[in-house]
């Protein structure tokens, strides 16, 4: 039992922190203090270190009768989740200082609760846990999105997220039901074998897989289930957006990775991978095209995150196509690597968005104009993140793409790989435009003075991200090896 609890630490620690934070806020009785911020950051940090420690020492295994499979991939995903949570919390302080209305007592607690759900999702080996994880992740995020109750945009974001999220959950749950019906098991790891055994229910299983996947596609913001993303990302408080864009994605992809054998058996590798490929292509293009002329920085980053989900789906398609074997490991490593680097660069970019935030609905990209002459360091950091998001060497973004696309090639999905790189070319348009605004255009005459909202925590967070993005781009061997080694067990 203790063993189980220890293994579930990455899930339980943030949950514990969430509860503690609730208690503290209750006791504090609404008095504003730095206490909850520090406690929350500490909680995330502890969870991060704890996960890292387990990872480093190979402390893996099944817990709670196999309903949780805390393997290396799960730990890696949890690591990314907690890293995102920690950085999102660091971004939150200066954001909340400026936006008092977002500074609800439950803010930090909800972040931790969502992180707990995400970690759970990554480790879930049972459909029940999957559902629990999804909801534990989603419900706090609904609230966080709408946490500025006085803001129409925030509430709208929360509502849209909620409505569509619940809608998607229904698909997910329905799919689970069907899968259960097709296999008689709720254990993810047992599903392929059971489905294969009960061959007569093949159609049912495929139906279940599709419904399940629709639910997951919603979470990773895959086209055409992505429509909530730009609106919710724009309306939510920026640090929450950052957290959603990185951690949710990581958790959902963790689930997807664990689910790939089921796709392969349920639908067949051919059909499964071609479906994923179609979705991936759509996702990459719609994401990149939608971002082209965005004037709102958060919205632009939202579309960009859709596109990035598409790139990662390329990897998933490759894994499904090969159905196990070498590619499953390589593909998982690639996606985990991508998620890790994406978390760093995206959080960094959102950090800059926090700094430049002028207020609701005015997170315009125009704020970037002339940044290089006024704030060269900020501009340089943002340029690094932008280039990383665009996948230009020598940043980590390039290696992530390299890794994922190489999976497609290894799965002999050459057309998909080519389409994927073409989509990245489209993506370059708007990433380059950001640089253009910062470096090539002067600030407009008579523009309002900048409100640079920053504090040392945010600065540290951005700096850490920038260092990671460059370090993982230039000397990625340790991280790649680490990921490969751990994913391979």
């Amino acid at each position: 039992m203790f063993q189980d609890i220890a293994l579930a630490g990455p899930i339980l620690l943030p949950a514990l922190a969430a509860l503690l934070l609730l208690g503290v806020e209750l006791l504090a009785g609404g008095r504003r203090s730095q206490g909850s911020f520090l406690l929350c950051a500490l909680g995330a940090l502890v969870a991060l270190i704890y996960t890292g420690y387990f990872l480093a020492n190979g402390r893996t295994g099944l817990a709670f009768n196999g309903t949780l499979n805390v393997d290396n991939t799960a730990l890696l995903i949890a690591l990314i989740v907690h890293f995102s949570a920690l950085l999102a919390v660091l971004l939150s302080r200066s954001y909340l200082a400026a936006r008092r209305d977002a500074d609800a007592p439950e803010y930090y607690s909800l972040v931790m609760a969502a992180a707990s759900g995400m970690a759970m999702l990554a480790a879930a080996n049972d459909l029940v846990n999957v559902f629990l994880g999804v909801e534990l992740m989603s419900i706090p995020l609904y609230v966080l999105a709408a946490i500025r109750r006085k803001s129409a945009r925030s509430v709208e974001a929360g509502l849209k997220y909620l409505l569509l999220g619940a809608f998607a959950s229904a698909f997910l749950l329905f799919g689970m039901g069907l899968l259960y019906g097709a296999s008689g098991s709720t254990l993810l790891s047992a599903l392929p074998a059971e489905i294969a055994r009960l061959e007569t229910n093949g159609g049912l299983a495929a139906f279940g897989v599709v419904m399940f996947l629709i639910g997951v596609f919603f979470k990773v913001a895959a086209v055409p289930f992505h429509m909530w993303t730009p609106d919710v990302y724009e309306g939510s408080p920026t640090p929450v957006t950052a957290f959603m864009a990185t951690a949710t994605k990581a958790a959902a992809f963790g689930l997807l990775l664990r689910f790939t054998p089921v796709i392969a058996t349920g639908m067949g590798p051919e059909a499964g991978s071609s479906m994923l490929a179609v979705i991936a292509v759509l996702t990459m293009f719609v994401g990149n095209l939608g971002a082209l002329r965005q004037q709102n920085l958060k919205r632009l980053l939202a579309y960009s995150s859709i596109a990035h989900a598409g790139y990662m789906l390329v990897g998933v398609a490759a894994i499904v196509a090969e159905d196990g074997g070498e590619i499953a490991l390589t593909g998982s490593s690639a996606i985990v690597f991508y998620l890790g680097t994406y978390a760093a660069m995206n959080l960094g970019a959102f950090g800059v968005a926090v700094v430049l935030d002028r207020g609701e609905g005015r997170e315009g990209v125009n704020e970037l104009k002339g940044l290089c002459s006024e704030r060269p360091l900020l501009a340089a950091v943002m340029a690094v993140f932008t280039l990383a998001l665009a996948g230009v060497p020598p940043t980590a973004g390039f290696l992530g793409k390299l890794y994922v696309f190489s999976c497609a090639v290894q799965a002999r999905m050459y057309a998909l790989a080519v389409v994927a790189v073409l989509a990245s070319v489209v993506g370059l348009f708007y990433y380059l435009r950001l640089i253009l605004l910062m470096y090539f255009t002067p600030r407009e005459e008579g523009a309002e003075p900048r409100l640079l909202r920053t504090d040392s925590f945010l600065a540290v967070a951005s700096f850490v991200c920038a260092v990671l993005v460059l370090w993982l781009g230039v000397l990625p061997a340790w991280f790649v090896d680490f990921v490969e080694a751990t994913v391979r067990g």
Partner: protein, 642 residues
């Protein structure tokens, strides 16, 4: 020892260029001029020294060779800065440096007041160096280097007074038209390399002779014919033959010594040199030879017709040069290689003389060039007049001046040649001779005799030229008188030049069959005929323009004179049919680039934008739209299972 001297021959002019360029601030003008003259005289003397040793006839072509440095090596190519002084190149070198020296000296006077004095001599020395590289180079690339080098100098010197855009334009025209020829040369070079695997001239020509002997290359071999024709295209450009002769008249925009040196005596004969050098090719390609002969004859004829009506003293001489070069090609075409070279030499003497004389006139008249505004200069410019007069006789080809012998040799070979073609071109040559005599003495009459028609500006500084200018005139006049002695008609059995060159042309003549020796009386009869024709032409002009053009003008009206006045509209034809379409293509390319290719490129970007707009349009904020797409996607995925 001889090798080193040979190297010096070519290095001295180049060294002089370098010295003059880098010291142009320090050197006084006078000294710079002297250095430049010395840099031509010394090579001349050296050539005399070195060249003496190669006179002896031997089974192999006698030559002195030297290698200065390696140049292009690797990949099966082995080309060095190698020099080769054999009789042919020796003849050319002597003409180039000898006449070149005289013209340099002349220029000291002519360019005396010009602010670009030093620049002028740098270019002139560079020209001499390049010309020497052309004639002394032992390989095709080196020949080409000289070929392009002289073209460059020609370009620079034609546009010497570049403040006037017309001069610059003329220079550009010369260079570009020459490049058309160069393209032919280049392609010939490529074919030669492919065929023979080497670019060494001696190796190539020997290879061809040997190949012919072994039966590899039959008479009329298509490949060899093509090479010969391409070489001839190159020669056409450089030597101003139809249809590429248009640049030469315009080239008169340069200072007159330049016209004398480059556009009369030396550079324009480079084409002759090349054809002579590759005579074996032409001998083996009767078709190519016929083309050479026809083009030469036509050029001679057409240019002479144009010269009949020119008013500009230098233009008359320029067209005359084209015409005379046509003679030389005619000679080459009919297999009279020695005669052609002989004509090169004599032409160099008398045409340099005429140009320098013209220069002296122009100099005296403060740059007036219109012969219609001259007249009666005889008393004012006595030395110029007499030397010019000599030059006229030589050009017209009146016995016993130099031009008579060389021209007659060519005409004789043509008229007495076998088949119908050679006599035909010979007759054309004869008609040209008539016209030559006519325009020559027309010019003489217009310039030196009759009433003075000078305007005030020209009259102001009317004076005989200084000694630096007249001494070269006198020397050239003497050469024009006595130059014929170099190669007397066959029956005289005195043919220094012919004997000297014999080893060079032996292979070619061996292939084509040695020209038959004609009976003395036939030759003499021909001479008399041509002499009669020439004297007739001269006499006609002499009388007709006795009192200047005044009483005879206006010139006869009608189609033909109009055509001649306008130079057969060749420039206009080029403008409409060549330059126009090319320029049009350029503009079309610009248009295509901007609107079609870039249109596609920008269109793609716009397409992306458009797609983005659609994406954003769908993102209309309504949950129902989102749900609709969601469900549509779900339905699609589920249906795709079926």
């Amino acid at each position: 020892m001889e090798e080193n001297l040979l190297e010096l021959i070519i290095l001295i002019p180049f060294a002089s260029v370098v010295v003059q360029y880098f010291l142009h601030r320090v050197l006084p003008a006078r000294l710079a001029g002297l250095i430049a003259c010395g840099a031509v005289l010394v090579p001349f003397l050296l050539t005399v020294v070195v060249g003496r040793g190669i006179g002896a006839a031997a089974p192999q072509v006698p030559a002195v060779t030297a290698t200065i440095a390696s140049w292009l090596t690797g990949g099966g190519l082995e080309v060095a800065f190698g020099l080769r002084l054999d009789p042919l190149s020796c003849a050319w070198t002597l003409v180039v440096t000898g006449i070149g020296f005289l013209i340099h000296v002349y220029s000291l006077g002519y360019m005396h007041h010009d602010p670009g004095f030093k620049r002028f001599f740098i270019y002139m020395n560079l020209f001499i160096g390049s010309m020497l590289a052309l004639v002394l180079g032992d390989s095709l690339p080196l020949l080409f280097l000289g070929w392009e080098g002289v073209g460059l100098c020609s370009y620079l010197l034609i546009g010497f007074w570049f403040e006037d855009m017309n001069n610059a334009r003329a220079g550009q025209k010369a260079f570009v038209v020459n490049r058309i020829g160069d393209l032919g040369f280049l392609l010939a070079m490529l074919m030669i390399f492919q065929t023979f695997g080497t670019l060494d001239i001696a190796a190539v020509t020997n290879g061809l002779s040997a190949g012919h002997a072994q039966g590899t290359f039959a008479l009329g071999d298509a490949r060899i014919t093509l090479i010969a024709l391409l070489l001839f295209v190159g020669a056409c450009g450089k030597s101003a033959q139809l249809p590429l002769f248009v640049w030469l008249p315009d080239a008169m925009a340069g200072p007159t010594p330049v016209s004398a040196l480059i556009h009369a005596a030396t550079m324009v004969t480079a084409g002759i040199y090349m054809v002579a050098r590759f005579s074996v090719f032409f001998a083996l390609a009767p078709v190519a030879s016929a083309v050479v002969a026809i083009v030469g004859a036509l050029t001679a004829f057409v240019s002479a017709t144009i010269a009949l009506r020119q008013r500009d003293i230098k233009k008359v001489l320029a067209y005359s040069t084209c015409s005379q070069l046509g003679y030389m090609f005619l000679g080459l075409g009919v297999g009279a290689y020695g005669a052609a070279v002989f004509h090169v030499v004599t032409h160099a003497f008398f045409k340099a003389l005429l140009f320098l004389g013209a220069g002296s006139v122009i100099h005296a008249l403060s740059h007036e060039q219109n012969a219609m505004k001259m007249g009666g200069l005889k008393p004012h410019l006595p030395r110029t007049h007499w030397t010019f007069f000599v030059g006229c006789f030589a050009l017209a080809g009146i016995f016993p001046f130099a031009g008579f012998f060389s021209k007659d040799k060519i005409l004789g070979e043509a008229l007495l040649g076998h088949g119908w073609l050679f006599p035909l071109v010979g007759v054309l040559g004869l008609i040209t001779a008539l016209m030559t005599a006519f325009y020559t003495f027309r010019l003489y009459r217009l310039v030196f005799t009759g009433p003075e028609r000078l305007d005030a500006h020209a009259k102001k500084h009317l004076h005989e030229s200084p000694a630096t200018m007249t001494v070269p005139l006198v020397i050239l006049a003497l050469l024009s008188i006595g130059g014929g002695a170099l190669s007397l008609p066959a029956f005289a059995h005195f043919d220094i030049l012919g004997d000297y060159l014999r080893p060079i042309f032996a292979p070619a003549l061996a292939v084509a069959g040695e020209a038959a020796h004609h009976a003395v009386n036939v030759e003499v009869a021909l001479m008399l005929v041509s002499l009669a024709v020439v004297i007739g032409g001269a006499w006609w002009a002499w009388n007709r323009f006795a009192r200047g053009p005044g009483d005879q003008l206006p010139l006869p009206q009608g189609g033909l004179p109009f055509l001649l006045e306008n130079k057969w509209f060749v420039d206009e034809i080029y403008a409409i049919f060549v330059v126009g379409p090319m320029r049009g293509t350029a503009l079309l390319a610009g248009f295509f680039d901007r609107y079609v290719i870039d249109g596609i490129v920008n269109g793609l970007a716009r397409l992306c934008d458009l797609c983005g707009a659609v994406v954003r349009l769908l993102q209309n904020g309504a949950v129902h739209t989102y749900a609709l797409l969601f469900i549509a996607g779900a339905v699609y995925l589920v249906c795709s299972l079926l």
